[in-house]
Subunit: 124 residues, 2 copies
DNA sequence: TCCTGCATTGGATTTAATCCAAATCAATCA
DNA sequence: TGATTGATTTGGATTAAATCCAATGCAGGA
């Protein structure tokens, strides 16, 4: 456990946190000025392999990192400003995929992204 | 309608087609040797604005383009080889998001990505 | 304290996508 | 048919995200 990793872990803390690698780096720099981008990428990669952090690809730009890996959830994204909230739908989408639609795959996971307009953008 | 656009449209034809821009360009070149990447990107962008083609971001690498825009569907992705199939789950995931989980958003769309292992990779 | 091996650094590289000005082409009209 | 015009295409440069790599630094154990 190095200072750099601690800082990255600190930045990635809280609910509804979905930062890009660059944003993580920007915040990390304020706490540890010499930290390099490569280290941030390395650490994020390790956290993902350890299952502590999830990669989410809600927009088509940079990957985002979601520290809320231990409680399963999905995402609600504002189509205008890109704001992201964690959501917990009822029901089990896995059960909604009939065998005839599985093409012989062993299906193990499902990812749901809701899109809409957030209250902020709606009122603007 | 130019020769270039016709070629891009021809490449993007069929079921379960989910090519990256580069793959579209590579196939387009075999039919029209001097077509440029910029034109492929331009044309894909126009097709997306017209609603004829969907962008899908199933992996975190390049965007993929899905010509099957007129019948709504979701995707089943092989975690190992990246193969993608179009699937049609039963049920309506939109209905599974309670008001208390909408954070004031106007939710209009939902995108579901199933992940698993395809028969090919499973037998290898 | 001294080693040893992993972590970090930063700069170069790769990949995807976009931008831009110049050249080209398709469609219309006389 | 030939000229005009405005949209399209081109390719090279540029941006952005991510990765790679060799050299350096550092944490933790003996």
């Amino acid at each position: 456990m190095t200072a750099q990793r601690r800082v990255v872990a600190e930045v990635l803390d809280g609910e509804h946190v979905h930062l890009t690698a660059d944003e993580v780096h920007a915040q990390a720099v304020t706490k540890l000025p010499e930290i390099s981008r490569a280290t941030v990428y390395n650490t994020l990669g390790e956290l993902v392999s350890l299952g502590e952090v999830l990669e989410v690809a809600t927009d088509k730009r940079a990957k985002r990192y979601d520290p809320n890996a231990h409680r399963p959830h999905h995402h609600l994204v504002c189509a205008q400003c890109g704001a992201i909230r964690d959501v917990h739908p009822t029901g089990n989408p896995l059960a909604d995929l009939p065998d005839t639609e599985r093409f012989g795959f062993t299906v193990s996971d499902v990812e749901v992204t809701y899109r809409g307009v957030c209250p902020n953008c709606a009122s603007a």
